[in-house]
């Protein structure tokens, strides 16, 4: 097509565009790279000025992140030789490890609540989206708008009555309570995204299946579900990212048992203030899963974010 070449950017345009975008991307990466490298610094290197780019890497931050330590006398240290490499790291400061920190537990809470609520919101969202896409539901447009509008509430505004309600029901600071709450927040997104995906699957497939004697249920899970698999997967990613990163509800409604990692990481205190290498180590471990997801699933990202407005 000759006409097509008119719109094809020239080589020079491409070079300029590429340079500018790469420059922006590199600036964007500085804070992330800094989190990553700070996790491998010693506390003194972390606060050195000018900031150190070349330094001797250590796992001190990670050891501090996962353990609780206490100061010991020289006699005690001499009498009890270090047992493992991580013991040696804390001994430089006359400390011994007395047990695990709460980080592991909080991280596990993030996993349970994140995946639990993602599963539930995608499960319920798929059913609702299918119904909205295929059946005649009274006031469907209003219901859909209502579902979306639940996202407009500031979390703090919802948190007051939820706090009171959960206290009555015994759901405060429980995994179940947080899973239900995050599901309710995410379901609006799930229904909207999935409806877009299911709308695109031709109805003829199910109609053929119904004629063949399938029930609606069978047609739904044998025909529609496999077709919607990619859509379901990308919806799940968005729900998981939200539940994984949520902070406001976690900090207001949980105090220990069910607290996730985001409220915990900023509270890792070392000697004289925040223990920056440990905070950075915690942040790195927490951010990595999301980064990996983003990179692996980047193709679906654009479609997901625009409610399927872009068809590729």
């Amino acid at each position: 097509m000759a006409a097509h070449s008119i719109n094809e950017p020239s080589r020079r345009q491409k070079t300029i565009a590429g340079t500018l975008v790469i420059a922006y991307a590199l600036i964007t990466m500085i804070p992330l790279a800094w989190i990553f490298i700070t996790g491998f610094k010693s506390p003194s290197d972390a606060i050195a000025y000018p900031p150190k780019i070349v330094f001797e890497p250590t796992l001190e931050g990670y050891v501090n992140l996962f353990t609780q330590r206490t100061r010991q006398t020289q006699e005690f240290l001499d009498a009890n030789p270090p047992e493992a490499w991580y013991d040696e790291i804390v001994r430089q400061y006359d400390m011994v490890i007395v047990g695990p920190s709460k980080f592991g537990e909080r991280f596990l809470n993030s996993v349970i609540i994140g995946f639990g609520s993602t599963f539930l919101s995608v499960f319920l969202g798929t059913l609702a989206a299918y119904a909205f896409s295929r059946f005649r539901i009274p006031l469907a447009d209003d219901l859909l708008f209502f579902i979306l509008s639940t996202r407009m509430m500031p979390p703090i505004a919802v948190a007051i009555p939820i706090f009171l309600m959960y206290r009555e029901l015994g759901l405060s600071d429980t995994h179940l309570g947080m899973i239900l709450l995050y599901t309710a927040v995410n379901i609006s997104l799930a229904v909207w995204l999935l409806k877009g995906f299911i709308d695109e699957i031709p109805r003829e497939y199910e109609e053929a299946a119904l004629i063949d004697g399938y029930t609606r249920f069978q047609a739904f899970y044998k025909i529609v579900l496999p077709q919607a698999a990619t859509g379901i997967a990308s919806t799940a990613i968005f729900c998981l990212i939200f539940a994984w990163n949520e902070y406001a509800f976690a900090v207001l409604l949980t105090s220990g048992t069910a607290q996730t990692a985001p409220p915990f990481i900023p509270t890792i205190i070392g000697v004289g203030g925040l223990d920056w290498p440990a905070v950075a180590a915690g942040a790195t471990l927490f951010l990595v899963p999301v980064m990996v997801f983003t990179i692996v699933l980047r193709k679906h990202l654009l479609r997901g974010i625009t409610f399927g407005a872009v068809r590729k």
């Binding site: 500031p154 007051i160 309710a184 249920f217 902070y247 900023p266 927490f286 407005a309």
Partner: protein
């Protein structure tokens, strides 16, 4: 729709086959499928909303559940709307909203425009640019306080490296004039990619033939940009502004970790102010009225905006 599907199927098939469509009726299935979602939203959104409205007329305090609760009528609302501190908070929020949206729209659109030039490797760089919006605002905000440290922070170091200023001469988070900018910078870093992605969707939705027609009419590139590209992307851009506006109006996690509302109250946005009233001062009734006012504001502004958006779309 479903009924008509069934009708069509029934008409098109002999009675014997039509009879074979078995199982629950479509109406029953529709209710089974939609029911749980509606129930959950009613339980976790609507019921609490009604409860909040009820609490907003009382002097209830959640930390003293046994104290007698009095209905005080509209007094909470009256106090909020005449409180000068709350107007300061609103101003801080408006300032934050204006600058974050302005910067994100300009940078986001520019990036999308450049990426749409389809240079080599743009997919990889786009993915890198998008990373910040996928991360936890609280964790990221907390770490930025480290980057902003005047003595040891990388941010101050880089700025002073390029400007020659003494890095300890400006304290982003500690200064009354710079603290609002400290949060604007981080928010822009995190959320520009979102605006960019939506603009990119808009740019990709413009069919090539429109440019081809313009080319035949000998319209200049500049003219094509202003008469084709911008108007075609505008609805997408407005949608991005809507989402960012709603999100930033409820902004909480990032700011709590970054500045905690300080110094003083210069970065105390409405959500943080509300949290203070509800969960530190425990003035639950008062905070409920505050929450309702905020909700009505967002909902009202969003509805007006959506109307405008639909008008733009129709053009």
């Amino acid at each position: 729709m479903a009924d008509s599907t069934m009708d069509r199927v029934a008409q098109a098939t002999p009675p014997k086959v039509a009879h074979k469509i078995k199982g629950l009726s479509d109406r029953a299935i529709a209710w089974i499928f939609v029911g749980p979602t509606i129930f959950l939203l009613l339980a976790i959104n609507i019921f609490p909303l009604i409860w909040t409205i009820n609490l907003s007329f009382t002097n209830f305090r959640a930390n003293r559940p046994n104290r007698e609760v009095d209905y005080v009528g509209l007094r909470n609302y009256e106090r909020i709307l005449t409180d000068s501190d709350i107007w300061m908070t609103m101003q801080a929020t408006a300032h934050f909203l204006f600058w974050t949206i302005a910067l994100q729209v300009v940078i986001g659109f520019a990036l999308a425009y450049l990426i749409n030039k389809k240079f080599k490797g743009n997919d990889l760089w786009t993915t890198i640019i998008v990373l910040p919006m996928m991360l936890s605002p609280a964790v990221v905000g907390n770490f930025w306080t480290f980057l902003y440290q005047p003595q040891i922070g990388v941010f101050n170091y880089i700025i002073s490296f390029f400007t020659g200023a003494d890095p300890s001469s400006f304290e982003m988070i500690g200064s009354v004039t710079l603290a609002p900018w400290a949060i604007i910078i981080v928010d822009t870093w995190m959320w520009t990619p979102f605006v960019m992605l939506i603009c990119l969707a808009g740019l990709r939705s413009i069919p090539d033939y429109i440019y081809e027609a313009a080319e035949i009419d000998r319209a200049s590139k500049f003219r094509q940009f202003w008469t084709i590209t911008v108007p075609m992307v505008l609805p997408f851009l407005m949608l991005a502004v809507l989402f960012r506006g709603i999100e930033n109006f409820k902004m909480f996690d990032l700011v709590v970790q970054l500045t905690g509302g300080g110094p003083g109250t210069v970065t105390e946005l409405t959500s943080i102010n509300l949290k203070r009233e509800a969960f530190e001062k425990w003035r639950t009734g008062y905070a409920s009225a505050y929450a309702i006012i905020l909700f009505v504001t967002v909902f009202g502004l969003a509805s007006i905006y959506v109307k405008a958006l639909n008008k733009v779309k129709e053009r």
